[in-house]
């Protein structure tokens, strides 16, 4: 043959129907999602600044290139919005908040919103086992992209931090992915799990120094170690002035 073959790389979600695609971890954004997300995050940024006078401490710590994982305490639906909105514009389109499948990806309309506006990926709480995490880990490293993750697994009902689950360790054990511990303050008062509408309470974010877990073994012990380490770092951020 006179010519070498061209190498095509179809979208990773080419075989999924539109409704399957919204819910898939394989979803690859196109022009449409970039436009909806661009608009959405502009609105969210303006809202957080005006209503909650969002302040960020340590924004220098935010990595400029994927892959990285934001890990934070979880008290409110605002948490993921706050953390995504503080990422610099040019990295934001590669940031994927990991959201509870049973809350955000059951109703088709909510799923379409979560995917098209938030760029969220589903994690099914009944199935947070190794296989589900492996799929996320693969995408994190190969794409590479960035995640926002709440290792408590659910929103705290009383504003106190709950123990971290080891799942976060399955994503980053043995890799050089930057894990950024973040402490969110005020989101519980602004929109706690019990409240229906947000209140104009100020929100603060403290960003800690990124960690890497290259040497940590990718096994149960390593995962628990990572979860505990991150939990301690975030607890440390709470007392920092």
């Amino acid at each position: 043959m006179a010519l070498n073959d061209w190498r095509y790389k179809p979208a990773t979600d080419i075989d999924l129907s539109p409704s399957q695609r919204w819910k898939s971890v394989r979803r690859e954004n196109g022009l449409f999602e970039e436009m909806t997300q661009g608009l959405w995050w502009a609105l969210v940024k303006a809202y957080l600044k005006c209503v909650h006078s969002l302040t960020v401490y340590g924004s220098k710590q935010i990595p400029r290139v994927p892959p990285f994982v934001f890990v934070a305490n979880h008290e409110s639906h605002l948490d993921a919005l706050v953390l995504t909105s503080i990422v610099p514009h040019e990295v934001r389109r590669r940031v994927l908040p990991v959201a509870a499948g049973d809350t955000f990806f059951v109703s088709p309309l909510v799923a379409a919103f979560a995917a098209a506006c938030l760029n969220a990926l589903p994690l099914w709480r009944r199935n947070t086992g190794y296989h589900a995490m492996l799929e996320l880990r693969h995408r994190l490293i190969s794409e590479p992209c960035s995640y926002i993750l709440f290792p408590e697994g659910r929103r705290s009902r009383n504003g106190l931090m709950m123990p971290f689950k080891p799942g976060v360790g399955m994503l980053v054990a043995g890799t050089d992915v930057n894990v950024v511990p973040c402490f969110l303050e005020g989101t519980f008062e602004a929109l706690g799990p019990q409240s229906r509408w947000p209140r104009p309470h100020p929100i603060h974010v403290r960003i800690g120094e990124p960690l890497r877990f290259q040497q940590t073994p990718n096994d149960r012990e390593g995962w628990t170690h990572i979860a505990r380490e991150l939990e301690n770092r975030i607890k440390h951020l709470t007392v920092l002035e």
Binding site: W6, Y8, K9, P10, A11, I14, D15, L16, S17, P18, Q20, E28, G30, L31, F32
Partner: protein
């Protein structure tokens, strides 16, 4: 905007003035209603295998959902027809760009989308010069935008994919939209849609009944020479009969010109099908997308239109012209 134009764009009162429009609409509705009943009777008479029956029924469901979306705007007016074809073109291009990976070349991808929008602006405006100019203009734009990333690796591939996609989908389907500038657009567009889809059905049925020799085993293993000939004969007859009503009393209304039109529709329809099959085989995928779940993407359904639309447009244009009695440049104003 003159009264003639607004009547063409938005008027429904004259929708069925040409009897063939009413006839085709009723025929389409009748085919949709009769198909499942006929398939069911054939199944009961043991003339149809269960698997074939289920395939027919699930194809029918897709068409039952698609048909009102297609026919509705055409009946409602030329404006809605152009809007429908803009949506269809953009969606088909989306499938193409995601299948080939072109959508990751941001600049070229956006250029083609803008190009498709401009094609439909030229169509709505009834500005033929701009419509024609868009192929060279967009080719230049895509080449230039392809230079921007300063990345010679893959330059030819991304530029060629962009120009090819714009030509095939933007210009191809754009010609179908441009027909909406003719006062008899409803009958011509409906005739094209019906005959192109029936061309596929004829090929499928003839192939199932008499298929022996494979036509192009590497490109499309399902196609047989017998199916192709069956479609060629039946579609030509159908287009000749329909064309006689659509173009009654014009320079096209002669047996030889109508039969030629029928042959052109059937041949270019099947070649469009093969074109898309080649694209899919080259990329290495089965369907362009899963827009219609089990039935692949919209582009898989409308592949046959891509080459038919420009062919019929210029054939009819050669004899009669397209929209010559309609005011031109209704939005941009004549200079």
């Amino acid at each position: 905007m003159t009264e003639v134009t607004s009547q063409r764009l938005f008027g429904v009162s004259d929708a069925f003035d040409q009897p063939v429009v009413a006839g085709l609409t009723i025929a389409i509705a009748a085919i949709l209603l009769v198909t499942p009943a006929l398939a069911f009777l054939l199944l009961k008479a043991k003339a149809l295998r269960g698997s074939v029956y289920r395939e027919v029924i699930s194809k029918w469901k897709t068409w039952a959902a698609l048909t009102p979306l297609l026919i509705g705007p055409i009946i409602l007016g030329a404006f809605w027809t152009v809007l429908l074809l803009l949506g269809l073109s953009l969606w088909c291009y989306r499938e193409y760009s995601r299948a080939t990976g072109l959508f990751r070349s941001r600049g070229i991808h956006v250029s083609v989308v803008v190009g498709i929008a401009l094609v439909h602006f030229a169509v709505l405006d009834h500005w033929y010069d701009f419509f024609v100019a868009l192929m060279p203009i967009m080719s230049i734009v895509i080449v230039v935008v392809g230079l921007f990333p300063d990345e010679p690796k893959g330059f030819i591939q991304r530029v060629a994919l962009g120009i090819f996609g714009f030509m095939l989908i933007g210009i191809g389907l754009g010609h179908l939209a441009y027909l909406a500038n003719d006062s008899a657009y409803r009958s011509i567009i409906l005739m094209i849609l019906v005959s192109v889809e029936m061309n596929d059905v004829f090929g499928y049925v003839a192939g199932k009944l008499f298929g022996r020799r494979k036509l192009a085993p590497k490109t499309s293993p399902g196609k047989t020479a017998e199916g192709t000939i069956g479609a060629l004969v039946l579609t030509t007859i159908m287009v000749a009969v329909l064309g006689h009503w659509v173009f009654e009393g014009t320079k096209l209304d002669y047996p030889q010109t109508l039969i030629t039109l029928g042959l052109l529709v059937s041949v270019t329809g099947q070649l469009g099908d093969l074109t898309l099959s080649s694209i899919k085989r080259d990329v290495g995928i089965k369907d362009m997308s899963a827009t219609l779940s089990a039935h692949g993407g919209l582009l898989d359904r409308f592949d046959s239109l891509l080459l038919v639309a420009p062919t019929v447009f210029h054939y009819v244009g050669y004899f009669l012209g397209i929209g010559l009695d309609q005011p031109a440049r209704i939005l941009s104003g004549s200079v």
